[in-house]
Symmetry: C2
């Protein structure tokens, strides 16, 4: 079973919107053992959309289109597919009712063009839109399946997860399955990691091993073709142990899990609470802890002291520390960690201070960051980092490395500078 | 002049990495008046990459490839293009030296495969990689230009901005220019906005007007074809005033500017300082203020009080408020705003409290959010919001609406609930 994803929207070709839908749909299809060999993006143009569908029919059995189901002038996907496949557009009454009810309950009066979102292709099966108004659909024609999804990710995601998946499983899956497992690493470069497992990667045809980096975290995806899920998982288990052997220190979890989530799970597991005082990261570390609802059991609060004055007046960083060492110093990072712990009564306190850039601070170059850790009765300490010259990259790397330091602390792995 | 963007990487087809490069390159090309009609993504597969290039040659003059220049097994772009165009791969000595020097200065020893990153196509012009090792290149062949760029965005962006742009301007621009202007709006839905300007959009062929929503903010892009930049801007000016007339209340700025940046610029302009106490957003609002280096002049710090206990003990929210109204209440949001102002001595204090979800809190449904504002001598107040059921969407909308409330407060526009 092979699929092709066609994204529709001039805003994508103008670069005003990043195409995250193609990635999301690909992940969901891969999980079903459906291979994707091409992503194609075209604008709100009927001719080019039709050409893209014709090309896709030669290469794929399942054609997933996203975007262009909305109420505006340039939403042309349904009309174009209806014309190309020569099927009528019918009113889907359940959707029409939802649109009317929605506007009854909202303060806005309803623009008539909103009704366009209730039209579906004749003979297609509607896909409910749990979080928006435009209905999706799946249509079978000879040996092809055509899926139409809305463009907004917060409408597309639930439609795929709650409705499309079941439809696909019903009609599409062949006996061969594609089983894959994703391992997540931090604290090593992509090239270094690739080098360490090169012999294993080279030796493999099934399972295959792929390495890629994303936002500072590294992903290793092991994918096996097999007759059954069990068989697939068995060969993945073997390769996984070979891969982890030289990399165990950098491994933090499986699947989509981000480093921050892995650390939160560790804190919950160990019954530890955490807080932080942030300067260059300005709240990004605290925010990353609270992204998940489970944060409540490990986190009560934290503080952002961006200016030197507030570091002293609100967080009680001593004047001596600032005079003698400056705010960009291990001493200040340690005191921020300790004082945040006192202020919020947590087991672990993190202090983040440094030069986000682009300019220098206290004669220190951009990318110079000190992260302090204070943990129960342990002697507090700080670790020095030198990142790059990009402000927000530096802020992001500071947040990730703070999480990694906490992870290593909890697991008793080495964490200080050599 | 027409371009096509081909992204290479199996990780993109597996959905492990979102393709932000195609959007970035498209924006840069649009700014040069170069039209992009297709984005295509293929895996690390020589045959499919070759087919994609052949298809692109029929549709575009400029073919931009990104990805597959790295040192690992599956980086095949240069080798594939060399074979397809029948040109040799030569060692680019300047890049080789950089690779060697880089590893001398780093703690890692150099894997030999890193040398692969110094190979370039014969007759091509190398594009320097300011932030990484893999060299890029541009090659002219008959009536096509082939551009090869690295996959990592933090390498691709500076290569495009600092090196590719100049090369393209030198050789590609025709006399016709494409001038475009982007207007940014918040506080109205895409459908509502589209409806308001429908007659204007319908009436236009040049300039064209496109509307799209992204992360809660709405973008209207006006694009004009003209003989000169001046001529293009003149007709854009006319349409802009027609569009702004019914939408002035929601308009916050031009171009790539995000709402948070527009608010920060307003604060700087008015010489005002800001702080916040965050509960459900956990630091995301404070972090959004500090994303830009100019934050220092309007922001000194803020606090995150996630638990009820810390709201009382650290931020001094009165027990009465919490007993009588609960933490998810306008009274609590107002007290958080006021107390954060006292704590950090700012002109404006923002309090964010609510139910991020997915669960309920104090019998209030997820998406119920109260944002409090305290400004100088004005009576403090809170605004009530009901967002959806998605935790992080609710957090994001709370941050955006807090910025919008501050913007309206500063500009003297209506901001409270009716």
């Amino acid at each position: 079973m092979r699929a092709e994803i066609i994204s529709i929207g001039t805003e994508l070709l103008l670069g005003q919107v990043v195409n995250s839908n193609a990635a999301f749909i690909s992940r969901e299809l891969a999980a079903l053992g459906i291979e994707v060999y091409h992503h194609v993006t075209v604008g709100d143009n009927a001719d080019r959309l039709t050409e893209a569908v014709q090309a896709a029919e030669k290469r794929a059995d399942l054609i997933v289109l996203s975007g262009g189901l909305g109420p505006t002038e340039d939403d042309i996907t349904k009309q174009t597919i209806a014309k190309y496949l020569n099927v009528d557009l019918l009113l889907h009454e359940e959707t029409e009712d939802r649109i009317i009810t929605y506007h009854k309950n909202s303060d806005f009066e309803m623009p008539e063009n909103n009704q366009l979102q209730a039209l579906i292709l004749a003979e297609s099966i509607p896909l409910k839109n749990d979080t928006g108004l435009a209905v999706g659909m799946i249509l079978e024609r000879e040996d092809h399946q055509y899926v139409l999804l809305p463009g907004p990710p917060d409408e597309l995601h639930p439609m795929v997860e709650n409705h499309l998946k079941d439809e696909l499983i019903k009609r599409l899956l062949d006996e061969q399955v594609l089983v894959s497992r994703v391992l997540r690493f931090f604290g090593i470069t992509e090239a270094q990691l690739a080098k360490k497992i090169e012999p294993i990667v080279k030796a493999q045809t099934n399972p295959t091993v792929a390495v890629y980096a994303n936002e500072g975290e590294i992903t290793v995806r092991i994918t096996a073709r097999a007759k059954t899920e069990e068989e697939g998982n068995r060969c993945i288990d073997e390769i996984e142990s070979l891969i982890l052997e030289p990399l165990t220190d950098y491994f933090f979890g499986y699947g989509e899990k981000r480093l921050a989530e892995a650390v939160r799970d560790l804190l919950i597991e160990q019954g530890l609470t955490i807080t932080a005082a942030e300067s260059l990261t300005g709240g990004a570390f605290l925010s990353s802890i609270t992204a998940d609802v489970s944060a409540g059991s490990v986190f009560e609060g934290g503080i952002v002291t961006y200016s030197t004055e507030k570091k002293q007046k609100v967080l009680n960083i001593s004047a001596e520390t600032i005079e003698n060492f400056g705010v960009v110093s291990p001493e200040c990072a340690i005191e921020m960690a300790e004082n945040s712990r006192k202020m919020f009564k947590a087991d672990i306190g993190v202090g983040l201070t440094g030069v986000a850039g682009p300019g220098s601070l206290e004669d220190q170059i951009p990318g110079t960051v000190y992260i302090g850790l204070s943990y129960k009765e342990d002697p507090p300490f700080a670790k020095r980092f030198h990142f790059g010259y990009k402000r927000n990259k530096n802020r992001q790397l500071a947040v990730l490395n703070a999480h990694d330091m906490v992870r290593r602390l909890i697991l008793g792995k080495p964490v200080k500078n050599d």
